[in-house]
Amino acid sequence: MFSDPNSSLISNQLVQQPVVSSDKNNSPAIVARDLVRVFGQKTAVNHLNLAVQRGEFYGFLGPNGAGKSTTIKMMVGLLRPTSGSVWVGSIDVWKDPLKARSLMGVLPEYLNLYERLSGREFLTFAGHMYGVPQAAISRRSEELLRLLMLVDDADKLVVDYSVGMRKKIALAAAIMHNPQVLFLDEPFEGIDPISSRVIRDILHDLTQRGTTIFFSSHVMEVVERLCTRVGIINQGVLVAEGTLQELRERASGEDKDATLEDIFLNVVGAREESHNLSWLE
C-alpha cells in the first residue's frame, strides 16, 4: 500500500504548500516549497514540499539516489534549484545566503574539509568564519575535541584522519557557533559505537536547547531513536512524512508494530524477495 507516491502517508498539511509565517518565532525553521532539481533528463528532486518546526529532529530517509543529498545541498545553498524556494529561519536561502548560512551548521555528505589544517586549527578557522570570539573558540574547541575523543589527534593534519575522525571534526565545526538549524548528511557513517553514542547525546542536547536538526541517514535504528518526525523520499518525491507513531498508524492495515525499517521498505517499494545466493546452496 505504501509504494504509491501519492499514498496517504503524506500528511495533509504537507500536501499543501508550507507557509512561511511572518512571525519569525512561530514560523518553521526550514521550509522547502516546490523544490525541483533536474540533471539533464533526470529529475532528482520533484516538487518537494516540507516544513520542519523549530526544535524538531527531522529524519530524512530514502534509498541511494533518492535525492536526499541533492535536497540538502539545495537547502544549504550549494546547489541552485531548478525551481522552488527554501527558507531557513524565515530567511530565503537563495536571496540572503549569508544571513541564512550564519543560522545553519552543515555536515555535508562528502567532507571537503581543509585537509592541510590540523583538527584544532580547522576548528579555530571555522570559529572565526562564523564570527565566534577567540576566547569562546578556544574554549569550545577544547570541549568539542575532548567530547569527540579527538584530543590526542587534535594536532594531526586532517588529511591523516580516518573517515570517522573527519566526520567528528566536521560535526564539531558545524556546531561551533551554536547554529539554529543543523543539516547532517549521513553523520553516523564510519563512526565507531562510542563516538556514535557521544554524537547522539550532543544532538539530543542541541534539540533540547531549541536547535532544529535536519538529518539524513540510512541507519534506521538511529533515526527511530532520535527523530521526532520522519520524511521518506523516493525517486525525488516525498512519499511519506510524519511522526513515527503517525506512520505506524497509517500503516495499521498491515502491521501496528511495524518498525521504521518495515515502513521504509514498504514505502520505497522494496519487495520481500529471497536473497539467497544460488551457488551457496
Binding site: 574539509l113 578557522f125 576566547a135 594536532d155 593534519l157 551554536n178
Partner: protein, 561 residues
C-alpha cells in the same frame, strides 16, 4: 607462497594491466589530450634520443663513441631506478598491494609487476634507445648477436632493479608524506631545468664532459656498475677481445640474477600496511575558564571600510589559512617554489649571461616587477579554484565575498611584496642604482594591485578546476590542472588582459626613462599607484557583488571530480 605460476591467472593479470594501460589514456578528456600531446612531443623526443645516440655510436671517433654507450646505458639504468618512484600513482599496476587480497603466488605477483612495467610509456622510449644500441653497434654478425644479448641482460637488470627499488620502498611510496614530497620535487625539478642547465653546462661541466669523452674518462668508473659491464662487453667484442667480452657479459648476467633474487626476496616483505601519520607542531590553546556569551554574526555591516575589512578576524583567518596551505599543501607549495625558482632564474640569468656586469644587474631592478607580476598571477588568477574540494566548506561559512577575496589577496600580495623587495634591493645593491628603488617599488605595488584585481575577476567569472595532483609525468604545477583547452585559452586571454591593464603602470616607469625626464615620476608614480588601487577596488567590488550568486556555478566547475 608456493613458487607456482597458473597460466589462467597470468592471462587475467595481463588482461587487468592491459585495461589499466588503455584506460590510462582514455579515462577522461584530459587524459586523451595528454595522450595526443605525448604522441606529438614524446615520440619525437624518444626517437631523437635514439637517433642521436645511434649517430654518436657510428660516427664519433673511439673511444668517444663507447663512452657515449657507457653513459647511455648507465643513464637509462639510473633513470629507471627513479622511475617507479615517479610513476607509482600514475601506473596503478605498480601498487602490488592491491593484488595481495587474492590468492596469488609470489611469481605471479612478480609477473604482474613486470606486465605493469612493460605496459608503460617510458618503456617504449627505453626500447627505442636499446634498438639504437643494437643497430649502432651492428658492425658484424657476431658483434650484433653479442650486443643483442648484452642489451637483453641490461634490460632485465633495468626492469629488475626498478622493481627492487619499488619493493624496497613500497611502504614509503604508499605514505602521504612521500606523495607530498614527490609532487614538490617533480614540480621543482621540472622548473629548475634552466638553472641546472646553466650551472652544469655553462658554469662547471661542459668542457670537462667533452674532455672525458675523448679520454675515456667515464668508462673506467662506470664499468663497475651492472650496465657498465654490458657496455664493456660490447666494446671488447667490437675490439675483437672475445674472451674479455664474455667475462664482462657473464659479470653482467650474475648482477642481473642477483637483482632478480633480491627483488623476489624483498617483494614479500614490502606487502604491508601503509604508514599513517603526520602530526604537526601547533600551538596548543589552554581552555580558558568561564563561559562567554557568543554572538552569532549575521550579514556584514554595509558601510564597512577597507581598513575594517582588512582588520576583520575573518579576513585575517583566511590569510593565515592561505599561508599555512602554501606551506603544507604540496600542490600549492610546488606553485610557490616555481614562482621562487622563476625569481631565481631572473637572478641567475644575468650572472651567467653577462658575467654579472653592473648593467645586467640594473636590468634586474627594472624587470623585477614583471617577474613578480607573473609570479603572483600564477597564485591569484584561479584563487577560488586553488581551494579545490574545500571551497564547498568555505562557501558554507557566512563570510562576505569581499573578505574572502581580500584574505586571499593579502596572502599573495605579501609574497609578491617580499619577492619585489628582494629582487629590487639585490639589483640595486649590485648595480648601485639606488635612485630607482623607490619608483620601481611603488610601481611594483601598483602592478600587484592590478594583477590581484584581474585575478579576482578571473577567479569568480572564469574559475578552473585544479586537479588533485599525482606523481609522475602527468604531474605538473599547473594551477589549472585538467581544466581543458577552452579554459586554458581563457586563462591565457586573462593573462593578456592583465598585461594590457598593466601597460599604464609600465609606461609610467619606462617612458620618463626613455625620454630622460625622470622628474615626471614625481606626478606619474603616485598616479600609477592610485590607478592600481582604484582598479583593484572597483574590480573587486564588482566581482564580490556577483560572487554569492555564482556560488553553485563556481562549485560546479572547481569541485567536480
Amino acid at each position: 607462497m608456493a613458487m607456482v605460476i597458473h597460466r589462467d591467472k597470468l592471462r587475467w593479470l595481463f588482461w587487468l594491466r592491459w585495461k589499466l594501460f588503455l584506460r590510462g589514456f582514455t579515462r577522461d578528456r584530459g587524459r586523451i589530450i595528454a595522450t595526443i600531446f605525448m604522441i606529438v612531443f614524446g615520440l619525437p623526443f624518444y626517437s631523437g634520443i635514439a637517433i642521436g645516440t645511434f649517430f654518436a655510436y657510428r660516427f664519433l671517433p673511439p673511444p668517444a663513441n663507447t663512452e657515449v654507450l657507457f653513459l647511455v646505458l648507465t643513464g637509462v639504468y639510473l633513470f629507471w631506478l627513479v622511475l617507479p618512484l615517479l610513476e607509482f600513482t600514475v601506473n596503478e599496476g605498480l601498487d602490488v598491494s592491491k593484488l595481495i587480497l587474492f590468492p596469488l603466488t609470489r611469481p605471479e605477483l612478480m609477473v604482474s609487476l613486470l606486465f605493469s612495467t612493460l605496459l608503460d610509456i617510458p618503456m617504449f622510449g627505453l626500447i627505442l634507445v636499446f634498438i639504437a644500441v643494437v643497430v649502432g653497434w651492428a658492425i658484424s654478425v657476431p658483434v650484433t648477436l653479442l650486443t643483442i644479448l648484452a642489451v637483453l641482460i641490461c634490460y632485465v637488470q633495468v626492469v629488475g632493479m626498478s622493481q627492487l627499488v619499488l619493493a624496497l620502498l613500497m611502504r614509503t611510496l604508499q605514505s602521504r608524506r612521500f606523495r607530498d614530497l614527490s609532487i614538490i620535487l617533480i614540480a621543482v625539478f621540472s622548473s629548475s631545468c634552466y638553472i641546472f642547465q646553466q650551472v652544469v653546462f655553462r658554469g662547471i661541466g661542459a668542457r670537462n664532459i667533452v674532455a672525458n669523452l675523448q679520454d675515456g674518462g667515464f668508462s673506467s668508473y662506470l664499468q663497475w656498475l651492472p650496465p657498465g659491464m654490458s657496455a664493456r662487453a660490447i666494446q671488447q667484442a667490437v675490439l675483437g677481445n672475445w674472451g674479455a667480452s664474455v667475462v664482462w657479459l657473464g659479470a653482467s648476467l650474475v648482477a642481473s640474477i642477483l637483482v632478480l633474487y633480491l627483488w623476489q626476496l624483498v617483494l614479500e616483505r614490502s606487502l604491508r600496511t601503509p604508514e599513517v601519520g603526520g602530526a604537526i607542531r601547533t600551538r596548543r590553546h589552554k581552555a580558558p575558564g568561564g563561559a562567554e556569551a557568543v554572538s552569532v554574526p549575521t550579514s556584514q555591516p554595509a558601510g564597512e571600510s577597507v581598513w575594517q575589512r582588512i582588520g576583520s578576524t575573518q579576513t585575517l583567518a583566511i590569510t593565515i589559512k592561505e599561508w599555512k596551505y602554501f606551506w603544507r599543501d604540496p600542490q600549492l607549495k610546488a606553485l610557490l617554489f616555481q614562482s621562487v625558482i622563476w625569481i631565481g632564474v631572473l637572478i641567475i640569468g644575468p650572472l651567467f649571461n653577462s658575467r654579472g656586469s653592473s648593467s645586467s644587474w640594473g636590468v634586474l631592478t627594472f624587470t623585477a616587477p614583471l617577474a613578480v607580476f607573473f609570479s603572483i598571477f600564477i597564485l591569484s588568477y584561479n584563487t577560488l579554484g586553488l581551494e579545490r574540494q574545500s571551497l564547498t566548506t568555505l562557501f558554507l561559512f557566512p563570510v562576505e565575498p569581499r573578505r574572502i577575496l581580500l584574505g586571499k589577496n593579502l596572502s599573495v600580495a605579501a609574497l609578491g611584496i617580499v619577492e619585489l623587495l628582494l629582487l629590487v634591493l639585490i639589483g640595486a645593491f649590485l648595480s648601485h642604482a639606488w635612485s630607482f628603488v623607490l619608483p620601481v617599488l611603488t610601481l611594483g605595488l601598483a602592478g600587484i594591485a592590478v594583477v590581484l584585481g584581474c585575478g579576482n575577476f578571473s577567479s569568480v567569472f572564469l574559475p578552473q578546476r585544479m586537479r588533485q595532483m599525482q606523481r609522475g609525468f602527468q604531474a605538473t604545477g599547473s594551477s589549472s590542472g585538467s581544466a581543458g583547452c577552452v579554459r586554458s585559452l581563457m586563462s591565457m586571454a586573462m593573462m593578456l588582459v592583465t598585461v594590457v591593464v598593466l601597460v599604464p603602470v609600465g609606461l609610467t616607469l619606462f617612458l620618463p626613462l626613455l625620454w630622460n625626464m625622470q622628474w615626471v615620476w614625481v606626478f606619474a608614480i603616485p598616479a600609477a599607484l592610485l590607478y592600481g588601487i582604484l582598479f583593484y577596488q572597483v574590480l573587486t567590488r564588482l566581482v564580490a557583488s556577483r560572487m554569492l550568486a555564482r556560488v553553485p556555478e563556481i562549485l560546479e566547475v572547481t569541485t567536480r571530480e
